[in-house]
Amino acid sequence: MQKSTPGASLETNKLSPLQLGGIVAVALLIAIAVSLPVPGTNVTMVVLLAGVIAVVATYVISRRVEGRRHAQDRIVTGLVTASFVVATLPLISLIYTTVSRGTNRLDMEFLTGTMRNVVGEGGGVSQAILGTLIITGIATVISVPIGILVAIYLVEYGRGQSLAKGISWLVDVMTGIPSIVTGLFAVGLFTAIFDPGYRSGFAGSIALSVLMIPVVVRTVEEMLRLVPMKLREASYGLGVPRWRTILKIVLPTALPGIVTGVILAIARVVGETAPLLLATGLSDEVNLNPFDGRMASLPLFIYNSYITPGVTVQASYDRGWSAALLLLILVGVLFGLARLLSAALTPKGLK
């Protein structure tokens, strides 16, 4: 490498934020000017074109003013930002659409009423809200203990053993099971035990558990691995048996992460439609008994509102969108809860 001469300047020319803003503004103007004569252009295309022009122009100008390294830095920054925008646009669009269409029917009748004997307008989704809470709740109660125990085995006891490797591989396979297949599994299981045509909330919970367990295992496993080995050794060094070390040292230290993982796993399955379609079925009225009869759920309610809108199509669509908004709010609340609990449970020394 060539050595720089002593006394050479360490300063370079820099583009100011104002100048960069100018480049973007000019790019936008050029994009509009180019697009206007072309028939059938829309805002998205203009913005995309402006983005491309801005990135290229920034590179060219930066290369002349700031030099090659800075120009490369600028172009990579531009590409990363563009990718971020492309990735977030669908989310923003989704939230915007659901909120704007979903608020039409978000009233008291919708939240407290049911669809029993409702043919046209009106009606409510209380049966679906309760159904979703019951089915997901049971699935959580089944999955969380199993998932945590499997993770404890994998991290604390099975390290390096072939059984643990086998289980770990099976958990990976489980992660990839299509959700409809878990529904078929639940139907198969319950029709084998009971009569054909058996549908219940519990069958749906079993199907959801199959989806949830691998997620819980994976996240809890990660969290347990993050607990430093030196804490376990400190505990062993005090003559504390292994099981008590896990219970009193490892789990409490990993608790914030475990709680977050469990809540994210719930959020993952709360919107599952396919398994419930097969295992739980639909219902227009409140059914609080998960072991007997079909049960409504929010995802299936949304699906059904679009598939069989009945006589007043718009009313059914509105109910569907409002139910979708409710589901979105539910997931949002779960995410918020995960963050709050995680912050509240983190030991003060680690913050």
Partner: protein, 311 residues
């Protein structure tokens, strides 16, 4: 308990220890007896030995080999560690001195695949005897680690009591135990006003002394220290070295250190470990009085290492 451990004589202390066991240890003792007759026998034998006797808490190691799976990390160590004295283990990185130290309270084997072959005898019990429970061994032989590792979910006081509470012992005189242990670790004056604050909020040197307080709160017979000062500044190091000198009145102390001045300052006897080359097992080259080791060692390898002409 005496607020000034420095002035407590070994005789007084061991009498207090006996009293303590009689009052606080009863529930645990009964559990132990029921669970494992052999260890109950071991425990009562230990208790019956006069703890002020010359050879109580002496550790005799005979032909100890240590393995990590197929890899032999330490080979053929035979040495006798004096009671109520400080024994320093020195040697280059990777020579197996930490592995050896961890084998003394059977912590070596918590790493999957690791095992030991040989005899380690403490008060007439072979720690590697077939029926010995490693958990009970670790209650007799405490450990202080290289980097301070207070439990992050616990307060200062809870950390001190961890060894007792985690073993499901009721601690009726908790405040007393906390104060005595923290005083024993020369930390009481610094933390007495924040006993309920997280232990991980202390400075590095304070955390390490908290770990020592935690280790002595369970009243072990032996204290193992694995480079306890390597993560600390000189002032904290000095505090810990002073503490080690005080603690040897009561405990048999084995310390691994990379700092030869430290070995010379605090230890009564020094063992030098070395390896012939990478992949070969480490072994004990020489073991003698610290003074002899640092002035006229018998082996040339020891002299080279101590005088910095190593490798």
């Amino acid at each position: 308990m005496s607020p000034e451990p420095a002035t407590t004589t070994a005789t007084e202390q061991s009498r207090m220890d006996a009293d303590d066991q009689a009052t606080t240890g009863q529930a645990g003792q009964a559990d132990r007896d029921a669970a494992n007759p052999e260890l109950a026998a071991m425990a009562s034998r230990t208790d019956s030995i006069d703890r002020t006797g010359e050879d109580t808490n002496r550790i005799d190691i005979t032909d100890l080999d240590l393995y990590y799976g197929d890899f032999k990390a330490v080979e053929g160590v035979t040495m006798s560690i004096d009671p109520r004295a400080v024994t320093a283990l020195i040697g280059p990185s990777g020579c197996g001195k930490s592995t050896f130290l961890r084998s003394l309270n059977r912590l070596h084997e918590v790493i999957p695949g690791a095992y030991a072959d040989g005899k380690v005898v403490l008060n007439g019990n072979d720690l590697y005897g077939g029926k010995v429970d490693p958990v009970l061994v670790r209650r007799k032989i405490g450990m202080v680690f290289q980097s301070p590792n207070p439990f992050p979910t616990m307060s200062v006081a809870e950390n001190v009591l961890a060894g007792l509470r985690l073993n499901a012992k009721k601690v009726p005189n908790a405040d007393e135990v906390v104060e005595k242990s923290l005083r024993g670790a020369n930390l009481w004056d610094e933390v007495k006003d924040r006993l309920d604050r997280p232990g991980s909020g202390l400075s590095g040197g304070q955390q390490q002394r908290l770990c020592i307080a935690r280790a002595i709160a369970v009243e072990p017979d032996v204290l193992l220290m694995d480079e306890p000062c390597s993560a600390l500044d000189p002032i904290s190091t000095l505090a810990i070295e002073d503490l080690i000198t005080e603690l040897k009145e009561q405990y048999t102390i084995v310390i691994v250190t990379h700092n030869m001045q430290q070995a010379a300052r605090v230890s009564d006897k020094t063992g030098f470990f070395n390896i012939e080359g990478t992949g070969r097992p480490g072994h004990l080259v020489e073991y003698d009085k610290t003074e002899t080791m640092f002035t006229q060692p018998a082996e040339e390898a020891t002299l080279n290492y101590i005088s910095g002409r190593f490798g």
